[in-house]
Amino acid sequence: MQDAERLFRREAGRLVAILTRLFGIHNLALAEDVVQDAFERALETWKFHGVPDNPSAWLMVTAKRRALDVLRRDGTARRFAPELERELDSEWTRAPAVEEAFESGLNDSQLRLMFSCIHPRLPEEAQVALVLNLLCGFGIDEVAAAFLKSRAAMEKRIVRAKKTLAGSKRLFDFTATDVAARLPAVQRALYLLFNEGYHGASAETPVRAELCDEALRLVHLLVEQRLTAVPATHALAALMNLLAARLPGRVDAEGNLILLVDQDRSRWDHARIAEGVRQLDLSAAGDELTVYHLEAAIAAFHAKATSAAETDWGGIVAVYDTLMKVQPSPVVALNRAVAIAQRDGPARGLEEISRIEERARLARYPFFHIAVGELSSRLGREDEAQHAFDKALGLARNPAERRFICSRTATVPARPRL
């Protein structure tokens, strides 16, 4: 049987985007109702007869019919999309307009809804929550899980955000100036969405590939649109592809985390690496250098190396140096120190760690203590290593992190003293 879960998730986002385009953003709730209705119809029928060969088309047709019903029925009582008013009012042009929205307007509708969700009056987390809920078809429960929030708190947040969204006069207008002004916030939201999946502090799993997949799908929409395909967008797409390529190697069959240097690189997704490298080339046009460029450059060094030993750590340290100038943070400084340890040995790495300004801000970050533990252990300082791993264990955010740290502590006393 087809995987209806993935199907519903994917189609929900597409259908809401198309219907909002037709009905107008102020009728967001109506658009969601129509989608829900189409799903209920699908489920009722498929329960008896099984999932059809082309379920996406089935849902499209059902939603299209329902949209036409609503437009016909409520035509006098409601105002629909202001820019389509004339087409939708007339019996002659209504059906073709609806047909066109469903047939050719899909990417355009999704982009406009995406830009609308990144509403300047909404806090970042609410923007990302809206994107997940409306464009990625995640239920409130799932969005709440993604942000480690209670269902009630997330529901409140999303309901409020939708009110703000529905209060907009119209869907985001794709004119060159508006796009340029809002694009950085859109890129940032997708970056957050991706990171939530890649480094997410979920209680269950260390990696939620699905969030990464959605971020990739949406960033590719940006890449395909002329106005949004700027160097920074290509850099972001490069970064996501290069990091996502490593996902298959990041956990083992038992769900245990594996450090980058220990990963089986044959398990990396080489198609994604190729796409990442291609996007990185495209990002080099122009003279803009964003954080996405730098992070993608680092990811590319790893992707190109056949092993940890073969990695150009000097090149990576150099990029971290630039990153520290563009957007310094304790986490970037820590990663830089780890790269220095790979290049110049563990003692130099620990020295760099001790020099990190605002080191206190890393105190609650398990990977800070793991790094200190690893480097101390390599120097044969077992007591210090043990102490650091104990601290990390107390901060672990999920069972996989806990198991990972335990596997490291187990290796400490086993190492011979020099």
Binding site: A4, E5, K47
Partner: protein
């Protein structure tokens, strides 16, 4: 053996429960497909049946009044039917007790089909 109609009854609330998220929808679909398959394999399912639209029309009385209904907000609307074969009503009820609609708070009405015996 006798035949029985199973009428699947549920409310809007039940529908939301079974379709609240893509995950739930998938679970609901899987359960129903498995249940129909099980009944088919045991030879219990006589007629798979069909889902029904939630709303239609009532034609009432000598005046043949036509009204809308049942309203979708109604507590339980018949959402579909199947016909099964069972030894007796008790047996039929046992079969119906496997229906996934029950997990979501819906109900199954089991009615024997009256025999036309000479």
């Amino acid at each position: 053996m006798a035949q029985f109609v199973m009428l699947y009854r549920s409310s809007d609330e039940v529908n939301r429960e079974t379709l609240g998220s893509p995950e739930k929808a998938q679970a609901t679909l899987t359960k129903w497909r498995a249940w129909f398959k099980e009944m088919t394999e045991k030879g219990e399912l006589k007629v798979l049946g069909e889902p029904l639209e939630r709303a239609g029309t009532f034609v009432v009385g000598r005046k043949k009044m036509v009204t809308d209904g049942p309203f979708t907000e109604a507590k339980d609307v018949i959402g579909g039917f199947s016909i099964i074969e069972a030894a007796d009503l008790q047996h039929a009820a046992r079969i119906a007790s496997g229906c996934p609609i029950l997990d979501a708070g819906g109900s199954v009405e089991v009615r024997p089909i009256r025999k036309f015996d000479l």
